[in-house]
Symmetry: C2
Subunit: 337 residues, 2 copies
C-alpha cells in the first residue's frame, strides 16, 4: 500500500497510501495504473507549487478496480474496473455558462486534491466510467489523455475527408492525430523532434518537420492547395502560433490545445481576412470518456505503441527523471499495486 | 455627370463621370448616394496606395437607380432602385472553401476597381439588391455597412437574451450594437470617445467608458456576473484585444471585426482555460444584404441619426477633411447626381 508524495524541489518520496473510507457518493479504488501527464511533469518542475499542497500525492490518468462503495452509490460494484474522470465541478457560477467541466469552482482531482499515484484512492462515484472486459488496465490508464483528444476533435467538428494539421507531436498531439484519423480526416503531423517524427511515421501518420521544410508549402502539397480545414496547436510555442494562421484555409478552425502561459502575438488580420476561427479546448466532458473507451476497446488505436514504459510506483523518482531526459517518450505508466 | 478621383496625397479632384456601356451581365447605374467608409478614409490617408490605382474613383456604399441593362441581364429593370454588394469573386480557388465572398481572387469593387463616388457607375448585375419603395435612397446608402453588421451578428450566432459587449463605437460598432439589439440581445457598448458615448446613449444603448470605469467590473454588473456571451472587437486597438478575453464568459464567442494590421499579443491561455472562441468576420454574403434591407425597411433602426452629413459630390475633399476633424462623426454621404 504505497503512495508517491511530491515533496517540491523535483523530489518524490514513497510513503504509505492511507485507505480513506468512502463517504456518501464516494468510492474507494485500488489504483491499477497511473499515467504521467505533462501537467505532472510541470508540477515536478515546481511550476505549480503555488497550486499544489506539499507534500501531495499527484496523478490523474488512472485505471482502477473498485474496492469499496460509500453509502448511496449506485451503478457500480466492488471488483469492477473503471477509469476516472478527475473533475470535481464544485458550486456552479453564472460565468460557467453551464459548462461544469471548466467551471469557476472546478477542482482538478490529482492537482487540487490528492491523486492516483498511490495504491488506494477515494473519489466521487460520478467521476467513474466502466471499462469493458476487452480493455486491459494498462490501456485503461490511457483513457484520460485519449478523452482529451476526443474532446478536442469533437469541439473541432472534424469531418471525414477534411485536412487536419496537428502542430506538436507529443502524447496529446499524437493522440489527437490518431483520433482525427479515426474520424476520417487526412492528418499531417508537424513536429521538430526527429524521434517523434519517426515514431509518428511508424504509426502510419504523414509528417512534416518545419525546421527542415517550409510548413506552408508542405500543407499546400498535402492538401492539393486547399490548406488545412482544421489546425490543432499543441506545441505551446510562438512558432506554432505563428504557423497556425498561415496554414488554415478560408473559414478554417484552429484549435487551441496548448497552454500558453504568456500572451503571444497572433496574426488577427488573418482571422479577419479569411474568417478563421479559434476554438479553445480544455479537458473533457463525460461523452469524451465514453468515446475514448469505445475507441480504445475497438482495438484500432495503436495504444501499446503509445506506452513507452511501465514501472512500479516506487520507481516514480526515476520515471520523472527519465521523462526529463527523453523528450521523445510518450506515455509512462506507474503500476500502483 | 461628375466623378471624384482620388489622386493620392490626401487629394480628390472632381472630373467627368464617364458612362460605361454595360457589357453582358452588367448594369449601368445612376448613383444616388455613396457613403464614406473607414476604408475610404484609409485610402485617402495613402495607406492603400499600393492597392489602389491612381487616379481612381473609389467608394462602395451606394444606393442607385438602374439606368441601362447590359445583354442577358434578368430580374432588373431601368428605373429600379438598388443597393450594390461590391464584391466580384473572380475565379474560385481550392483554399476558398466555397466562400466566394472572401475568396483568394476576390476583387473589391470601389477599391480594386472603379467605385461609386460618381454619377454613372457600371457593375455586374449579380451585385445588385432591390430596395423597397419604403426605403429612401439615403437609407439605401447605409445598406452596405448595415450588411457588415448583419454578417457579424449572424456569424456570432447572437441569440435573444444573450449579453453582448461591443468594443468600439464607430459606425460599424454602433450598427453591430443596433443589429444585435434587434436580435434580442442585451447590448453594452464600450467606447472611450465621450461624444460617441453620448450619441450611443441617445439611441438607447447601455454604454461604458473603459478609460474611466473598470470594464471587467462594468460587464460583470451589466450581466449579473455572467459576463459576455459575445464580444465584438471593433476598436482595432491593443487595449481592445487585451479586454476581449477578460470579459467573455466560459465558451464566450469573440468576434474579430476590426482590422489589426500587425500581430498583437493575445491571451491564448484564456481561450484554453474558458474554451473561448474567436470568430473572424469579413464583409458579407447575399443573405446579409437581404437582412440589412429588411431591417432598414422595417423602420426600427434609427438610420436618420446615423447619417451625420449629406453633401454634394463636388464637396468630397471637404467631406474627407471634416471626417478627419470629427472622430465622433458617423456616416457621411455624398450625393452623386
Amino acid at each position: 500500500m504505497k503512495a508517491a508524495y511530491y515533496q517540491g524541489n523535483k523530489t518524490f518520496k514513497i510513503g504509505d497510501s492511507q485507505a480513506v473510507a468512502p463517504g456518501p457518493g464516494e468510492v474507494r479504488l485500488d489504483v491499477a495504473y497511473c499515467g504521467v501527464c505533462g501537467t505532472d511533469v510541470h508540477i515536478y518542475h515546481g511550476a505549480m507549487d503555488r497550486r499544489v499542497s506539499i507534500p501531495q500525492v499527484i496523478g490523474h490518468e488512472a485505471s482502477a478496480v473498485i474496492a469499496e462503495l460509500g453509502p448511496g452509490v449506485e451503478g457500480f460494484e466492488v471488483g469492477q474496473r473503471v477509469a476516472v474522470r478527475p473533475l470535481a465541478p464544485g458550486e456552479s457560477s453564472p460565468v460557467d455558462n453551464g459548462c461544469t467541466h471548466i467551471g469557476k469552482n472546478l477542482k482538478f482531482i490529482g492537482i487540487d486534491t490528492p491523486g492516483a499515484m498511490q495504491a488506494s484512492w477515494t473519489v466521487p462515484a460520478y467521476t467513474l466510467h466502466h471499462l469493458p472486459e476487452s480493455l486491459s488496465l494498462e490501456h485503461g490508464a490511457l483513457i484520460e489523455p485519449l478523452a482529451v483528444a476526443c474532446h478536442d476533435v469533437r469541439l473541432a467538428m472534424v469531418k471525414p475527408g477534411e485536412n487536419v494539421v496537428v502542430i506538436g507531436g507529443g502524447p496529446i498531439g499524437l493522440l489527437i492525430a490518431l483520433v482525427a484519423r479515426e474520424h476520417g480526416a487526412n492528418v499531417l503531423l508537424s513536429e521538430v523532434n526527429t524521434q517523434r517524427l519517426d515514431f509518428a511515421r511508424e504509426l502510419g501518420l504523414a509528417t512534416v518537420n518545419p525546421a527542415k521544410d517550409d510548413l506552408v508549402e508542405a500543407v499546400g502539397k498535402f492538401s492539393g492547395d486547399a490548406m488545412a480545414d482544421v489546425v490543432f496547436e499543441v506545441s505551446g510555442t510562438a512558432a506554432g502560433v505563428e504557423a497556425m494562421t498561415k496554414i488554415a484555409r478560408v473559414r478554417g478552425r484552429i484549435v487551441m490545445v496548448a497552454i500558453h502561459a504568456q500572451p503571444k502575438p497572433v496574426d488577427l488580420f488573418q482571422f479577419f481576412w479569411r474568417e478563421l476561427q479559434l476554438i479553445g479546448v480544455r479537458v473533457y466532458e463525460p461523452e469524451d470518456f465514453d468515446e475514448a473507451i469505445a475507441l480504445a476497446a475497438g482495438g484500432k488505436l495503436p495504444l501499446d505503441r503509445v506506452i513507452t514504459n511501465v514501472s512500479p510506483l516506487d520507481q516514480v523518482q526515476s520515471v520523472f527523471e527519465q521523462i526529463d531526459q527523453n523528450p521523445a517518450g510518450m506515455k509512462y505508466l506507474l503500476q500502483c499495486q
